[in-house]
Symmetry: C2
Subunit: 477 residues, 2 copies
């Protein structure tokens, strides 16, 4: 039969345009430092440059790629710039981009083992690798009672942990009858906002989330947690879940996991450990002290898409007791039934997450680990920590600045001694200059600058230049 | 300063390996028909072929790509094969893969407008385009009171719609105090399992989800819905949410949106319309009758990653009243505060979804629309529907087979008249042969085969060959 009329890109064009896109990306990284890190556009400016109506006829690919250059780039904040020190790292790498490209090309759905067995099995396997690489407890291995799964974000991991905790505490009655307003969850005042969001989503309610007090280093105070749990029990409530953080977003504070874990064991509460950014540090034995006590956790999450050279999205979520997670999230309609699922010998990752569909995200993670090897990953993590510690030492030596919190790894919280307005001014001038991008938090009520070091191509010269620019702007106050 | 020691892929290597991956993908599509569509591996087989421990030293890229060929391909079920007729389409295209590659390369976070303005503005713009392209009501436009956002999946869209409905019905008290066990949601017996999952996640409870009876065409019966709402109100419960489906997963049934919408208006219930697969059909004016009444919906979702040549993940979710959605999902910690957000003149899409992080998914959607143009998209959708209708006519003409449900678009539900075992046998033999892949459902209690037509490269010859193979296997019974 003759080939039918088609608007699809021809195989030859795909090769040609694909090579052009690869080259464009390589060029983009090569000229990265020529762009202002923070996009300088005003609200609505990008949109106003786009054609108001979609095209009736298709356009040549060169026009698309040309518009990325012309219309999109001005509206990009360059997260991959070596001068990006804002928020958290979101570092990227060649093997990750190419692994993800292969996943796009294969275009498989991994909702069930049967819908592409390799998608499930590589994921299980690589997540088991990471248990060893990070020195996590063996109970998180899929070959024991636990297992790992890739979630999109730490927000989703926290939500799934909370849901499993909710169901365990109510003997799976909440799933059936809904929440009753009596469940209580705990985290620190410094925990990520996603915990509050999860508590709202899960029908527990933000008033039933206790934000436990922190110590002078912004770490959760275990005795305050124990006291609060006691009070809640006496009030007839049902404590069910604690989220402890290894490396808070605000200041990289390290909650004392071991002490929190002992309380959770005594009180039979689910302990989730959120190590979204700092989990990666555990690749290096010398930083594993941050994880002391993690063997007491019921679940654990860290994001290779933050600090392990893997592009978004890729959060690794582990549970010690997969049966509870699966029982919490499993639904099996007729149209998804199949012999492999019925045999019970496979994981269907649909039952480990909120969504049904999922892409082959393990491919990029597998590529990253194999490209760098443990050695390469450790090297770059150590280097980021070294640069942050060096930056912290410069801050300490400057009489006009002070450290605002301990800097255990790759985030330095610091401030100019001139007060909130001075810090706000320094930050805004730096960001407007385009030379670097950094963001702020508030610690002890004071505006605090955050120097987050972890982009793939950040080297000593970038950090040194950033410090020079900070001092310059301070000098102009 | 000298360049530091680095394990990163060099720019030259990225170009070289990137070209190789692009070529590998082009070759994969060229030889797609040589693979068995359904992977033939046994549980554990792929995993057993992988090295038990991660490498200490990095490996050359050629080894990675070689292992994709050797170890991964046997474990792939080829969703992009023109002989893939299972589940639902998940069709892919060159412009989508390359748009997604650019998003990976740029590596930006779109959680806030400020974290990359183009990421937000292109998304808002393209989703406004689609309102016009699909003939959706103007209230879904961002320039009115509504707006669109890309979610990962229809599951997440349904969950967000349900959460907004929950909060609207309780004056935002559920977010604060948790659910009280009185909220009730409604959908049909034939709705997707994700609705039940959303009800469980949201703390409403599966027993408070009413699965309303369907008619002989598997469409929700509006009078049964109205009756059930009345009963629940009399019992002191709080009806809050209805999910109606345009094209159910099981049989492509079309719920009567207009009648359901009128009930929802009278009863002040949130109406969410799930058009995950079939929404794309509305690109063609002649198929828009399936959407009659959609102007009464509070929210609407369809998945370009199903039937619009866009690789996973890409669900377009619209609300008529964005203020309610944002109020439901917004949390603003200090470390995310910025002047653009405070000005109120921008969308921060973090407030439109459960997760915080998000990638630049609009790029691939923008590329798809611009590459195909409305004309090209319409052409291929019409062709898929034509092929399905042709297949349905062959079934009707064969005395051994029967249609099991109306086939309004691109899904044909049919069965051999020999009963469940005959159909199960035909399906398993076909799938084991590797010649094609189809899956089943159960309608009127009977095993029913589903012929879903919508992969990008499916042509008449593939459908004809599938029918021939089905008849062959039936002949061997």
């Amino acid at each position: 039969m003759p080939e039918e009329k088609s608007f699809h890109m021809t195989p030859g064009d795909f090769r040609r345009h694909g090579h052009a896109v690869v080259d464009w990306i390589a060029d983009y990284y090569a000229r990265m430092e020529s762009f202002p890190v923070l996009s300088q556009v005003k609200p609505g400016e990008i949109r106003a440059s786009l054609p108001p109506a979609p095209p009736q006829q298709g356009e040549p690919f060169a026009a698309l790629l040309g518009d990325v250059e012309k219309l999109i780039l001005p509206g990009i904040t360059h997260w991959q710039s070596p001068n990006f020190f804002a928020y958290f790292p979101s570092n990227n790498s060649g093997p990750s981009i190419l692994g993800d490209l292969l996943a796009s090309g294969l275009g498989v759905q991994g909702m069930l083992w049967a819908t592409s067995p390799a998608c499930t099995e590589v994921e299980t396997h690589v997540l088991d690798w990471l248990v060893g690489m990070l020195g996590l407890p063996e109970k998180f291995l899929s070959t024991r009672s636990g297992g790992g799964v890739i979630q999109d974000t730490a927000s989703s991991a926290s939500l799934c942990a909370l849901l499993a905790a909710r169901e365990r505490a109510t003997d799976f009655a909440s799933n059936q009858h809904g929440c009753d307003g009596k469940l209580v969850a705990y985290t620190s005042q410094q925990a990520h906002s996603s915990i509050e969001k999860a508590v709202m989503v899960a029908g527990i309610g933000s008033k039933n989330l206790r934000l436990v007090a922190v110590d002078e280093n912004f770490a959760l105070r275990p005795e305050a947690l124990a006291r609060q749990i006691g009070e809640d029990r006496r009030a007839g409530l049902t404590p069910c879940f604690v989220c402890a953080t290894i490396g808070t977003t605000s200041s990289n504070a390290m909650d004392p996991i071991a002490e929190i874990g002992r309380i959770c064991r005594e009180q039979q509460l689910w302990l989730h450990v959120d190590a979204a950014m700092s989990g990666t540090a555990a690749l290096c034995p010398e930083f594993r002290h941050t994880h002391a006590g993690v063997e007491l956790a019921d679940s654990y999450a860290f994001n290779p898409h933050k600090w392990m050279f893997t592009n978004f999205d890729c959060d690794c979520f582990y549970v010690a007791d997969r049966a509870t997670l699966i029982k919490t999230l499993s639904i099996l309609p007729e149209y998804l039934k199949n012999r492999a699922t019925e045999s019970g010998s496979v994981f269907d990752y649909r039952d480990w997450q909120v969504q049904l569909g999922r892409r082959f995200r393990a491919l990029k993670l597998w590529f990253v680990i194999r490209h760098y090897g443990t050695e390469g990953l450790q090297h770059h993590i150590r280097e980021h920590v070294r640069l942050a510690q060096e930056f912290a030492s410069w801050v300490k030596q400057d009489a006009e600045f002070e450290l605002a919190a301990p800097a255990p790894l790759n985030l330095v919280c610091f401030r100019h001694k001139g007060g909130d307005e001075a810090n706000q001014t320094i930050m805004e001038r730096l960001n407007r200059s385009g030379d670097l991008f950094l963001t702020h938090t508030r610690l002890d009520g004071k505006i605090t600058l955050r120097m987050s070091i972890g982009q793939s191509h950040t080297q000593e010269r970038h950090v040194a230049r950033a410090w020079q620019r900070i001092q310059e702007e301070a000098g102009k106050l």
